[in-house]
């Protein structure tokens, strides 16, 4: 398969301090990849690099035929203002932005699709509920419905199962797998290794640098995890220590 994403010596960071450095690998189109690594390994940073909200300090990300319009991104602990007076249907219908933009009419056919998306995440009956009254799991279901409507070729999920009950998690994993079957490229930042082993064929392990990337059973090993922790610990403290160690 052709690569969907080609990281070419990618270095990302904030304020000239690299958080991910020298990443050089390819993610295949249509793959289902988990990004794992210790805290501060640069996982979220990498997703921000992919969406284009963070410009590379060095190197580049090639997205092939993918345009930025074809990327759907669900940030960690979504920064939605939950006190805002919006209903479930409002928040889900936002997923159609690319089709209807700022002024387009939702129309009958699209509003049926919104209903269908809400149904497929099991929120039927909650359409008019205010988002402030939803539980963490229900909110995440609504956001997945929005992702469904975005209909993107590349789906990026950052810790999608934090503060989500196990039943919701099972349902959402099913959705992710259906995206995989439909041929979409899905990349999820996760910290639950059992979950990754069970549902994610590919794993990219990160510890500010690439630790390993490939089939999950080959990458998610005790040895690699130990190495990743050491690499991250070595990088803590003043940045010059990191440079010396790397040299």
């Amino acid at each position: 398969m052709t690569p969907a994403i080609d990281f070419q010596n990618l270095t990302l960071g904030y304020d000239r301090h690299p958080a991910v450095s020298g990443l050089h690998t390819k993610i295949k189109a249509g793959s289902l990849t988990a990004i794992v690594g210790p805290n501060g390994a640069g996982k979220t940073t990498l997703l921000k690099g992919l969406t284009g909200t963070l410009m590379p300090l060095k190197g580049k990300v090639l997205l092939g035929s993918l345009s930025r319009e074809n990327i759907a991104y669900l940030p960690q602990q979504s920064e939605i203002d939950r006190s805002f007076p919006l209903s479930v249907i409002d928040i889900v219908a936002m997923g159609l932005w690319r089709e209807i933009g700022a002024f387009g009419w939702l129309g009958k056919e699209r509003s049926l699709r919104v209903d269908a998306a809400i149904a497929s995440v099991g929120l039927t009956g909650f359409e008019t509920r205010a988002i402030g009254s939803l539980s963490g799991g229900q909110m995440q279901r609504a956001l997945f419905a929005r992702l469904l409507l975005q209909n993107a070729e590349l789906v990026l999920l950052d810790e999608p199962f934090v503060s989500v009950d196990s039943r919701t998690m099972a349902d959402l994993i099913e959705l992710i797998q259906s995206w995989h079957i439909e041929g979409r490229t899905v990349i999820a930042v996760l910290h639950d290794n059992d979950l990754v082993r069970k549902h994610f064929p590919d794993t990219l392990m990160l510890a500010r640098q690439l630790v390993g990337h490939g089939p999950t059973e080959q990458v998610l090993t005790e040895e690699n995890q130990f190495r990743a922790r050491q690499m991250c610990e070595a990088c803590e403290g003043p940045p010059h220590v990191c440079g010396r160690d790397a040299a």
Partner: protein, 295 residues
Amino acid sequence: MWELFVQPFIDYGFMRRALIGCIAISVGATPVGVFLILRRMSLTGDAMAHAILPGAAIGYLISGLSIGAMTIGGMIAGMAVALLSGFATRLTSVREDASLASFYLISLALGVLIVSTRGSNIDLMHVLFGTVLALDDVALIMLCVIASFSTLTLACAFRPLVLECADPNFLRSVSRLSALTHFIFLMLVVINLVGGFHALGTLMAVGIMILPAASARFWALSIGGLILIGVILAVLSSWIGLLLSFHLSLPSGPAIILVAGIMYVISLAFGSIDGIRTNMLRRSSINIRGKLNEL
């Protein structure tokens, strides 16, 4: 009743003009206030009201008490402060509230300097407290134009604006309208304040923008409901405030805003949504139910 509540508007042209002017301001400014509150930017209105002062003062210096010159001057000053603080936030890591505060204070000092060295005290009072009982045709037309423009713009920018408020990251990920939306919104704040200051003065103009919108929060849950109730409360405040000022010879601007303030306190206490009384009732009903369960 009729004589008390309606007769003054029938007998006196200046009362009718004042009422029409206030209704125009209510229709234009209150929906903007609803969004200011939803975006947790209630105090931004206050900052902006101060920021327009030097522009209005320069307009006054150039052509006297001309509505046009003062309006354009006020808009330029307000937009300049909004743009400068926006740029400062995007080019550095200074937070928007800090840079806005800095620029509006500079602007305010400049305004006070100009007014106090070149104008008389009466002019200063005019700018600070407005002249709702002396609105001429030009001023009325301008207030109506501003209200219409503001309402239309808000309707056009409604969807991006809601998204920009509720989930700015999502808007940024799907479109490039985010910065533009923010700027259009600040522009609406500025033009409504400039309109309001002719009638109510720079300080009181913020009141009609924020207070009814803040009260509406205790009566409505949807954005449409907030805007509708906010506008109704604003128009009611204007009407009752003008009457109070007529019958008791009070200054009209503060009278209107104080009525809006009283409505806010009533809403806070008795509002059907999240009002203090409603919350107390709910709490006590839970307590009673708890005690019944114990029995």
